[in-house]
C-alpha cells in the first residue's frame, strides 16, 4: 500500500520535473541567456590573469563559494575525525 501510493506520487513529481526540463527549458546546446558567462569569458584573462576561465570563476569571481567548499571539506573531515575518535572510559556513561 505504502509502496503503491509512494510510487504514484513519485511518478507525479518526476513527470512534472521531466516535462519541465525537457519541453520547457532551452534546447540543449543553445542557452537562452548568457550575459553573465559572456562577460566572464571576455574579461577573465584581463581581470584575473588566468588562462583557465573555470579556474578564474572558481577562485576569483565566485571565490566565496570555493572558500565555502573548502570549508565544507574541512567540516566533513573534522566531523569524521570527531566521530571516529577513541573515547575515554569515563565518558561511556553520558
Amino acid at each position: 500500500m505504502r509502496k503503491v501510493i509512494g510510487l504514484v506520487l513519485l511518478i507525479v513529481v518526476v513527470a512534472f520535473v521531466v516535462y519541465g526540463v525537457v519541453a520547457l527549458i532551452h534546447p540543449f546546446g543553445y542557452p537562452s541567456q548568457s550575459d553573465m558567462d559572456d562577460y566572464i569569458i571576455d574579461n577573465a584573462q584581463n581581470q584575473t590573469g588566468s588562462n583557465n576561465v573555470v579556474a578564474s570563476v572558481v577562485f576569483d569571481y565566485r571565490g566565496l563559494d570555493t572558500l565555502g567548499e573548502a570549508t565544507i571539506l574541512f567540516t566533513a573531515v573534522t566531523g569524521v575525525l570527531l566521530l571516529l575518535r577513541t573515547l575515554k572510559h569515563e565518558e561511556d556513561r553520558s
Binding site: 512534472f16 520535473v17 519541465g20 526540463v21 520547457l24 527549458i25 532551452h26 542557452p31 537562452s32 541567456q33 548568457s34 550575459d35 553573465m36 558567462d37 562577460y39 566572464i40 574579461n43 576569483d60 569571481y61 565566485r62 571565490g63 566565496l64 563559494d65 572558500l67 565555502g68 567548499e69 570549508t71 565544507i72 574541512f74 567540516t75 566533513a76 573534522t78 566531523g79 569524521v80 575525525l81 570527531l82 566521530l83 571516529l84 575518535r85 577513541t86 573515547l87 575515554k88 569515563e90 565518558e91 561511556d92 556513561r93 553520558s94
Partner: protein, 522 residues
C-alpha cells in the same frame, strides 16, 4: 572604524572560518589557550555584528561584493548583470544575525565547562565555529548558489555535532537522519537553482527577482525550494527528523541546530517574499503556509504532551512553536495584495510571526540548556526516572520556570508579547485559527507543568542525593538567555520598533532589495 564598518559583512563570516581553521593548531597549546581564543574571536565577531546592525539600521540595505574593485559595486562597469558573489544585508538578515550571534555566544559559554574533560574538544569547537559561520553566511548572502553552499556548511557541521556522543546508538542515528534530510533538501535546492540559472543566467537573488517571468519552470523551481526548505525548518508533516536530532545533540549545540532550522525559515521567506514576491498567487501560497502552520502547531503540541523524554518533548514543542511563526507570516502573505487588510492587520501578523522567531529561539535554547544540565548531572533524559531535582539544582529549576512560562505565553515574559500579536491579528483574519493558537498555548503550558512536576518537584529521590548544581559557565550561559527573555518581555515595544519592524519591512519591500543591486539598470 570606517574600515570595520565597510568590511563587517565579510569579516563576520570570514573570522569564524579563520578561527575554525586555526583551532586545531591552537589546541596544541592547551585547553585554556583554545578556550580564550574562541571567546576572544567570538567577542570580536559580536562587536562586528553590533557595528553592522547599527549601520544597517541607519543606512538601510548594505551590499558587499566579493572581489570587486569596490565593495558597493554590485554590477561591473558598464554591465547590467551582477557577476560576482555579493552579500546583501537588510533588516531581516540582521535580525537573524542578531539571533544567531546571541544564541551562539550563550552556547559557547555554556559549553566551556560542559565539555571539560571530554575527548575531541578541539574539533567540537571548530565545528561550532563552522556552524555559526554557515548560519551567518546563509543570513547575509545575496546569491542563490552561495545560499546552497552555506546551507550545506550549516547542515554538515550540525549533523557532525548532533552525533557527537558516538557511544550512544541513538546519537549517531539522530545525526544520520539530519544529514540525510539535509543532503536531499540541499540537492533539491540546487536542482531548483539550476532551473533558475538555465532561464536567466544569473545567480544573484536580486537579479533573479528582477528578471523573474514566473514561467511554469519557475513554478516547479519554487515548489522544489519550498518543499526542501519546509523540510529543513521542520514543518509538519516534514518535521519528523527534528525530534530525533534535537534529542540527541549535545548541550551547547542543540540551540544552534535549532537556530539553523530557523535560518532555513529565513531562506524560505527570502525566496517567497523577495525572489518571487509580487508574482506568485499569494492567497494560495498564504493558505498553504497557514495550513502547514496550524498543522505544525497542533500535531507538534499533541505529540509533545505524550513524550517522556525531556528533550524530545521540547523538540516537539519547537515544531509546534514554528507553526506560530508560519501562521503569522502566512496570514500576512494571504492578504499582501489587499492594502487595506495589510495595513490593518497583515503587517502586525507578520510582526508577530517574525518577533516569535527571536523569542522562541531564546526560550527554547534556554529550555534545551536546562534539560542538558539535568542530563549532565543525572545521566538520563527520561522524566520517569527524575524527581525532586529542584532541591539540589535551584538555578536550573529557576531557569526552567522562566523558559516554561515564556513558551506557554504567560505574561510578562516574551512569549506572551509575540503570541498576543499573533492572536489579535489572526483574530481579525479568521477567529478559528486564533482559537486554535490559544488552545495550543494551553496544552503547551500543561506539558511543561507535567515535566516540571515530575522532574523538579516531589520527594527527594535516594538516587539523586549527591546531585550538585551545574558548573558556573553553564549557569552564565543560561542566565544570558534568561535575562534577555525577561528584558524582551518587559520592553516588547522597543524590540518591535527597533529590530522586528525593519525585518518585516525588509521582507515586504521587495523593490528596495532589488534596487540595491540592480538600481543602475533602467
Amino acid at each position: 572604524m570606517d574600515f570595520l564598518t565597510t568590511n563587517s559583512p565579510a569579516l563576520i563570516v570570514a573570522l569564524p572560518l579563520f578561527a575554525a581553521f586555526a583551532i586545531p593548531l591552537i589546541s596544541r597549546a592547551g585547553e585554556r589557550t583554545r578556550n580564550t581564543f574562541s571567546l576572544v574571536i567570538f567577542g570580536l565577531i559580536s562587536f562586528l555584528v553590533a557595528i553592522l546592525a547599527v549601520n544597517v539600521h541607519s543606512v538601510g540595505i548594505r551590499v558587499y561584493t566579493f572581489g570587486a574593485t569596490a565593495a558597493q559595486m554590485a554590477l561591473p562597469h558598464g554591465y547590467m548583470v551582477p557577476v560576482r558573489i555579493m552579500f546583501e544585508v537588510d533588516g531581516m538578515s540582521m535580525f537573524m544575525g542578531i539571533i544567531v550571534t546571541t544564541v551562539a555566544l550563550a552556547a559557547l559559554i555554556y559549553s566551556l565547562q560542559f565539555m571539560k574533560g571530554r575527548t575531541g574538544q578541539a574539533r567540537f569547537y571548530s565545528l561550532m565555529m563552522l556552524l555559526y559561520a554557515g548560519m551567518m553566511g546563509l543570513a547575509f548572502t545575496g546569491d542563490m548558489f552561495n545560499l546552497f553552499v552555506f546551507l550545506e556548511i550549516a547542515s554538515i557541521a550540525g549533523a557532525a555535532l548532533a552525533a557527537y556522543r558516538t557511544n550512544m546508538a541513538d546519537a549517531v542515528e539522530g545525526g544520520f537522519k539530519y544529514i540525510v534530510i539535509s543532503a536531499v533538501s540541499a540537492l533539491l535546492v540546487l536542482f531548483a537553482i539550476g532551473i533558475l540559472y538555465a532561464q536567466y543566467d544569473v545567480l544573484s537573488i536580486a537579479a533573479l527577482a528582477h528578471f523573474m517571468q514566473y514561467t511554469p519552470l519557475d513554478m516547479i523551481a519554487l515548489a522544489l525550494l519550498v518543499g526542501a526548505l519546509v523540510m529543513k525548518l521542520a514543518g509538519v508533516p516534514l518535521h519528523m527528523w527534528a525530534p530525533d536530532t534535537y534529542t540527541v545533540a549535545p548541550a551547547g549545540t542543540t540551540p544552534m541546530i535549532l537556530a539553523a532550522s530557523y535560518i532555513s525559515m529565513y531562506a524560505l521567506y527570502r525566496v517567497t517574499f523577495t525572489m518571487y514576491g509580487g508574482l506568485i498567487n499569494t492567497t494560495a501560497i498564504g493558505w498553504v503556509v497557514i495550513i502547514v502552520g496550524v498543522l505544525s502547531m497542533f500535531v507538534g503540541v499533541m505529540m509533545a504532551v505524550h513524550q517522556t523524554d525531556i528533550k524530545r518533548m521540547m523538540a516537539y514543542h519547537a515544531v509546534s512553536q514554528g507553526g506560530y511563526m508560519l501562521l503569522g507570516v502566512g496570514v500576512c502573505l494571504a492578504v499582501i495584495t489587499d492594502p487595506a487588510a495589510l495595513a490593518s492587520y497583515g503587517r502586525d501578523a507578520m510582526n508577530g510571526g517574525i518577533f516569535h522567531i527571536i523569542n522562541h529561539v531564546f526560550y527554547k535554547a534556554l529550555l534545551f540548556m536546562t534539560a542538558e544540565a539535568i542530563f549532565f548531572r543525572i545521566g538520563t533524559r527520561d522524566t520517569n526516572k527524575m524527581g525532586g531535582l529542584a532541591r539540589n539544582m535551584k538555578w536550573t529549576a529557576g531557569f526552567y520556570i522562566i523558559g516554561a512560562l515564556a513558551i506557554s505565553g504567560i505574561p510578562p515574559f516574551n512569549g506572551f508579547a509575540s503570541k498576543l500579536l499573533i492572536y489579535e491579528s489572526v483574530l481579525k483574519f479568521s477567529p478559528v485559527l486564533s482559537v486554535i493558537a490559544m488552545f495550543v498555548s494551553l496544552v503547551t503550558l500543561a506539558s511543561f507543568a507535567k515535566v516540571f512536576y515530575s522532574a523538579f518537584t516531589g520527594p527527594p529521590m535516594p538516587a539523586y542525593e549527591g546531585v550538585k548544581e551545574v558548573p558556573k559557565s553553564m549557569i552564565v550561559g543560561m542566565s544570558i538567555l534568561a535575562v534577555l527573555i525577561i528584558f524582551f518581555g518587559l520592553f516588547p515595544g522597543l524590540i518591535v520598533d527597533t529590530i522586528v519592524a525593519p525585518a518585516t519591512n525588509a521582507l515586504i519591500d521587495q523593490a528596495s532589495y532589488i534596487n540595491a543591486v540592480m538600481g543602475a539598470v533602467p
